[in-house]
């Protein structure tokens, strides 16, 4: 910085020192990746998420059997139950049911492991879609004045309908498939993203550097892409992670209430829904998937908090 300013005498000392100190400050600010990797929450949440992803991908190789396989001889068994079963080569082998079996004799362990897939797919899909759709609508609302009031009235209406109820309504109308469940969970999340994006756009467009960009003739699309969109990224990543956590929860709740993906499909919610009947004798039918569910959601939430702290500290004040 020393030669950056070329004006005369004693002032330079001060300006230089000033600039030097600022440069030093920026060096101390580690780059983003490093800061992220040093944040406890990011590490904790990130590792659990990676483990869950690996589990979902490697589900067939983790000592599981067909999660839909019904074995009438081994129904309602407690965790740790051992039995002789036929493997894929029709050979009799000893198998331990680490998490017991359900009322149809299906292996809970296999169902829980395979259930990871649905939860992650739903969580990630809802997060990505609601952020993408919300971003598009939010930009429109923030930049096109006449659309703003129309969009925001619709969003107010959507926000007034409690999310789970809206999802239940949508699923029960259109029948439960994984696609309809994703859409049904996504719709109630969109207004929150729209509001976030809109409020960022409205405040950023007042920033002098955006006004300066208008004054130097920057066309609208470039203005959005260069000066406004980058400001929405950090909050959206954070918001996306919270949406992901809540989507995983809501999917489980829908399944649990019988309004979700069809009962044969192994989802954590479905396993727990089936476990309700024999809860007094076999509480683990609820607790095993419950723990997986809680840990996954916790990991995503903690990851979200960590991302918020590193990417966008101001967001802590919003809700």
């Amino acid at each position: 910085m020393s030669q950056a300013d070329k004006t005369d005498a004693p002032l330079d000392v001060q300006i230089e020192a000033d600039a030097a100190s600022q440069a030093a400050a920026s060096v101390r600010q580690l780059n983003l990746a490093q800061r992220l990797l040093r944040h406890r929450s990011v590490i904790f949440g990130g590792i659990i998420m990676i483990v869950m992803l690996l589990i979902s991908m490697a589900a067939p190789y983790l000592g599981t059997i067909d999660p839909a396989y019904i074995d009438p001889t081994n129904r309602n068994k407690k965790p740790g139950y051992e039995a002789m079963v036929q493997d894929q080569y029709d050979k009799e082998i000893q198998r331990t049911y680490w998490m017991g079996t359900d009322a149809l004799g299906r292996d809970i362990y296999s169902r829980v492991i395979y259930g990871t897939r649905i939860s992650l797919v739903v969580g990630l899909a809802v997060a990505a879609l609601s952020v993408a759709v919300g971003l598009a609508i939010g930009l429109l609302a923030g930049y096109v004045r006449w659309l703003d009031s129309v969009i925001m009235r619709v969003m107010d209406g959507l926000m007034a309908i409690p999310g789970i109820l809206l999802a239940i309504g949508l699923v029960s109308l259109s029948g439960a498939t994984i696609t309809t469940v994703i859409v049904a969970i996504m719709v109630p999340e969109i207004p929150r993203v729209v509001r976030l994006v809109r409020s960022i756009v409205l405040s950023i467009r007042e920033e002098p550097y955006v006004e300066a960009a208008v004054a130097i003739g920057t066309p609208l699309l470039k203005l959005l892409a260069r000066h406004i969109l980058p400001n929405t990224m950090a909050p959206l990543i954070v918001q996306g992670s919270y949406v992901c956590a809540s989507a995983i929860l809501v999917e489980a709740i829908l399944s649990f209430l019988g309004a979700g993906i069809s009962p044969e499909t192994p989802t954590w919610g479905n396993i727990m829904a089936e476990g309700r009947v024999f809860f007094r004798i076999l509480p683990h039918n609820i607790f095993f998937p419950g723990v997986f569910l809680a840990v996954t959601v916790l990991a995503v939430n903690v990851l979200g908090d960590g991302l918020r702290d590193t990417l966008d500290p101001r967001l802590a004040k919003r809700i």
Binding site: A4, L11, I15, A24, E207, P208, Y209, K222
Partner: protein, 555 residues
Amino acid sequence: MVGGTAKRPPRPTGEAVLEIDGLSVALPKGADREHAVDNISVSVAPKEIVCLVGESGSGKSVTAFSVMGLLPKGQLAPVAGRIMLQGEDLLQASEARLRDLRCTRMSMIFQEPMTALNPVMSCGNQIDEVLRTHTTMSQAERQTRILDILEQVHLPEPPRMAASYPHQLSGGQRQRIMIAMALVLDPVLLIADEPTTALDVTTQAQILRLIRELQERHDAGVLFITHDFGVVAEVADKVAVMQWGRIVEFGDVHQVLTDPREPYTRMLVSSVPSMKPKLRGAREPAAYILQTKALSKTYVDRGFLRKSTVVEAAKDVDLQVSRGETVGIVGESGSGKTTVARCIVRLIDPTSGDIMIDHYNIATAKRGELHDLRRRVQIVFQDPYRSLNPRRTVGASIIEGPMNYGQRRADAESRARELMDLVHLDPSSLDRYPHQFSGGQRQRICIARALAMGPDLLIADEAVSALDVSVQAQVLRLLDDIRNEFNLAVLFITHDLRVAAQICDRVLVMHKGEVVEQGTAHQVFSNPRHAYSRALLDAAPGKDWEFGELLNAER
């Protein structure tokens, strides 16, 4: 060179109420320097006003907060020295003792009257809280006392003021409430931390007068923190000049302002623009680049089941600027000066009137035509920290405009290098990001970005107001130079009369959305015709001092 303070009789030098002796305050590890305040000594006698003056980051506020024991915990801590309040060392005092002393022996008022009062408590209650905390007075006694002190700070209708909430009062009134709260228990020391910086100049003058009056009546010593030498000249008995946490010079106000011993003080004092307009050579009348006719901007807030509010932010503004000329618009906040600037750049659409650039009308220009006109009018904003996109290199910011108009990247970049040179910055720093530059440097970059468009008219909207006085002087000089070099028309918007006096050929005075007076700078400053212009000039702090002449005399 007769100073305003010369009229006052010399103060009796009694026992000091406050004596700061060798105080050092440590900054957290990894800061740009070790100490926020480094081994400073100052004393304040009863009935005396001592000004701590310095540029931003010099440690003057830290000193004030150290005295009150209000330094942010865990970040700043006194590590050496003594702070003696009437012989009692505050650095040794317990938290409980400090609480007892606050508002009874020492009080503080702050910079932002808009936020310094609790918005959900009535003003009377907030003063009452002081009395309830520190005295055993009965309700009736307290009530009398509150009304009495509100009377003393010259608030109209004290009972109504006591019942009102802060948001119902103006900035000046709130600062009066703060002063009343600070002085209600007759403290021996009043600390004023930039108490008038957030106020308009006419309000500022009233508050300064009030502080002087009450300080005399209550026999209090005042430690007055400010960055403004005009204010120093107006109120100080003694001045301590701070730089980088140290006191560079401490002495009688007259001596410091007229005969500074230290080069730094001399530089600061000589950077203060003079209220006397520079005599500029008479100009050949040239064709107007910019001409507004009856320019108006009205905001209407239509209420449902409540009164609609109509604000005429600008009303029938006629102004002309020609090539090579700097025209100033001066006025207080809310006068409409910035509204006019934003209309001319078409950041907002005027409600009515014409804005002619040559013979094109910007006020009604449609998209394509507006796009062409934008090149010809450029603007530099007030806040250097928000005027550049923090995510883009300064080079990218400068070449963005020309490239929007089809210039090739290579050409735009070589032009950007020339411009960096022109604004006295190193062309090789084009690939740096804004946070690597100081405020003054950023403002130069903004000027370069504007010049890259090759404009005919440059609008400077409070462009030097956020800068320290020494940096301000440089940027003003730069603006003057480029105006001459490019024969630019400059529209200079400012609330600071001194700055206007130094840079403007002609001046418009705006008040409540209307132009109340316009004329050459010389004419407006030496012989204002409109009552409001006179009041404005009269209120300028330290108007009788000729700071800038010091430097000129020496050259």
